[in-house]
Amino acid sequence: MVPYQCIQVCERSTNGSHEWILVGASGSKLVIQSSNGATRTWAGEDKYMNLKENETEEPPEKKVKLSSPNEYSPTFSCLAISNDKQYVVAVTAEDKCVRVFQINSDYHLHEISQRCMARRPCAIALTSDDSTILCADKFGDVYALPLISPAEDVHHESLADEPNEAATQKQFVPAASLLTVHSGRNRKVLEEQIKLASKGRMKTKEPLQFKHELLLGHVSMLTDVVYTTVSGRNYILTSDRDEHIRVSRGPPQAHIIECFCQGHEEFVSKLCLTTSGFLISGGGDPYLCVWDWLKGRLLEKICIRTAVITFLGEQPELASTLPHNTEGFKIAISGIWSTPRNYNEVNEVLVVCEGVPAFFYVRLESPAVVETVPLNGNALDIAFISASESICTAVVAVDHMHKPWFTTERRADEGRGRLQCFECRDGRWGQDRKLESELEWFSRRAPDTDGERRDAGPALLADDSVRARQKDEKAFRDVLYGVEKLRKRSGADEQD
């Protein structure tokens, strides 16, 4: 049983009655529990149904995986729920795949599409009309994919950044002649190209067999993408591993950059709009930034690091791990959530930092207030259930597998729950035991499928599987704790 790396709540009213559905990704499985007690697990039952022809033409490495289905279980890295509450959009990391699931009336998830991208998606968002998935990737590009892929769309448009794609069938023509002036290295590449072309072995990239449109791109790994509408104008906000936050127009004018929000000194990992429209961003800096993002104006920086240091210092078992001099102490903000709209209209967010067993309740008053709510394990994700007009309930996914404040060391007592629930009354967060016990199955028992390879002890497995398992574990840990890794190491890759 592994922790929930992502959770989402889908709240909807059907036939006049209100219900919520909690969706969690635990490793390579999706787990569901609804307010009326239904429990479901998706463990990839129908994952081979939708394989399209081109996917069998993948490099041999992948083919092997496909032919031994037991070992093919990619880890979920992103979850989103459509605005109409009918679909779950998810990303699996190892196969770079965007998957769309329909939430059936009996709460079963039905996978309706798998679209494997050329580069790993790092964040996704949906347009407000649910027509389009915005997929932000590791190489800095944002693609638009239709949520529901049209049936006969083999004739996709070619990528704007790869005009050569349309011409892949054409005979390869070297990009320059040897007469032109080049550096030695370019010349070698060119000679190599000519040689390969003469042998007719010039490899060109397989085009993706589904509709995908390049909207915009940074020259840096993207970390988050947000779609929003203000006074009838649509915007796409993107953040990257350098310090950039870019504000672009929404499609069909996504090529126009309206402004940048400049103020971060380290990578940005998360963007969050508050209920009244401010943008809050965080990442490798000690602080959150608060923006009047339409103007690219930095309004305020709110220090989170101090709260983290104070919190750790107060924990008897953690205080000793704090460095003497906390000046260079680094935090990596890994999550920011605005409390739901129907709760109230103030600017407040919950914030979590990678590997920190607490969440931080931040109210944008003057001055800003940061309160700390301790957790049983490192905070992984948060989702909200709006139980009533005045009460806001937060479901927090915690890491029950690793020691609090550690990202690799396993703990001895893995039996604890993977969820903690809190409700906020009059600005105070208190544990919600009732909801916690309602979610008992989700928290402690799901997914209840047989023969879980990932959980079997290494001793029980053949060598190959051990290796597969170790690979799985690494992929999983990267999904759980990938934020601090975004920090640039000084001196790395210096070319001089």
């Binding site: 190489f139 800095g140 590009d141 704007a160 950044d161 790869e162 005009p163 050569n164 023509v173 990009a175 320059a176 007469l179 032109t180 002036v181 080049h182 550096s183 030695g184 290295r185 370019n186 590449v189 060119l190 190209q193 060109t204 990239k205 390049l214 915009l216 791109g217 940074h218 020259v219 840096s220 009838g232 104008r233 649509n234 350098d242 310090e243 950039h244 672009s248 127009r249 069909p252 004018q253 090529h255 126009i256 950059i257 402004c259 940048f260 400049q262 103020g263 971060h264 000194e265 640039k488 190491r489 000084s490 001196g491 790395a492 890759d493 210096e494 070319q495 001089d496």
Partner: protein, 288 residues
């Protein structure tokens, strides 16, 4: 550059002599001490320094003749209105309006400086030594032209233009961008490393003012076609016609004064030129 210790030592001695030895202030730097491996990876985290935003860029060391505090008279007369202006321009009388991206050893930069004596021109180069060479040459030329104040309007920074243009320039700040003989990155896998792409063109459009122009030139026909295709596809740009292009005063200079242009000339290679104008942004979709 790694190089053998002896070579490195020679370079360092030479470079030091340029700054310490008064008599050398006016002598042009020698290229051989500044050569550097041809390719730098635009994706990697070089040890780059760049301002958080254009407001925080200190241009005064690059264009000392254009700083406001250098010019006492103007500083004193400043009424409150002037002061607002002062602050918004980082203490500078002018902003950079011409950028030579990937300027190499600066041939074009030094040809443009006397052509636009009233305009600040900036070379942007990712390779450290090459940037140093250009900076030394700026220093020498300024010394040589003390009487006329020549070359006070030219400078060079080390930066990765593919990542950090918006850190140096405000929206619509530039009037001209030169992309001369960019590295071709033949391998398809490396096409995203090209300095022109549909997505990067959005950043050029951001820093260029409407009506501003991107100048491109290359000896690699495939790269020329690529640049044309990617700019023509981008709705913020339109290509200039043949006649308009040849009437542009910078085109001849770009052909003849860039270092690469000269090399191609010697090898009797072809040069492909294309210019693109930054168009006005259209109204928002819902507001036609």
């Amino acid at each position: 550059m790694p190089g053998e210790p002896a070579k490195r030592q020679k370079r360092e001695q030479y470079k030091k002599s340029l700054t310490t030895d008064e008599s050398k202030h006016a002598s042009l730097p020698q290229k051989k001490f500044y050569r550097q491996r041809a390719h730098a990876n635009p994706f990697s985290d070089h040890l780059l320094t760049y301002p958080i935003s254009p407001e925080q860029m200190d241009w005064s060391t690059h264009y000392p003749a254009y700083t406001i505090r250098n010019d006492k008279e103007e500083n004193v007369t400043g009424d409150s209105h002037d002061q607002v202006e002062t602050r918004s321009a980082n203490g500078m009388k002018k902003k950079v309006e011409i950028a030579d991206i990937g300027c190499g050893f600066g041939g074009l930069l030094f040809a443009l400086a006397p052509m636009f004596p009233e305009t600040l021109i900036l070379g942007i180069e990712i390779r450290t030594s090459v940037t140093e060479y250009v900076q030394e040459k700026v220093r020498a030329l300024r010394t040589q032209n003390k009487d006329t104040g020549g070359f006070q309007n030219a400078s060079c920074i080390r930066a990765n233009s593919m990542k950090f243009l918006p850190n140096f320039f405000f929206k619509a700040q530039l009037g001209k961008i030169f992309l001369c003989f960019p590295d071709p990155h033949f391998k398809q896998r490396k096409h995203k490393a090209r300095i022109v792409s549909y997505t990067l063109n959005s950043e050029y459009a951001y820093v260029l003012r409407p009506g501003g122009i991107v100048y491109t030139i290359t000896d690699v026909e495939d790269l020329h076609n690529w640049m044309v295709e990617h700019f023509e596809r981008h709705p913020s740009f339109e290509r200039l016609g043949e006649e308009e292009q040849e009437n542009e005063e910078c085109v001849a200079v770009m052909r003849s004064e860039t270092e690469e242009g000269k090399k191609v000339e010697r090898n009797k290679g072809q040069k492909f030129v294309a210019l693109f104008r930054r168009l006005d942004d259209p109204p928002w979709p819902s507001e036609h």
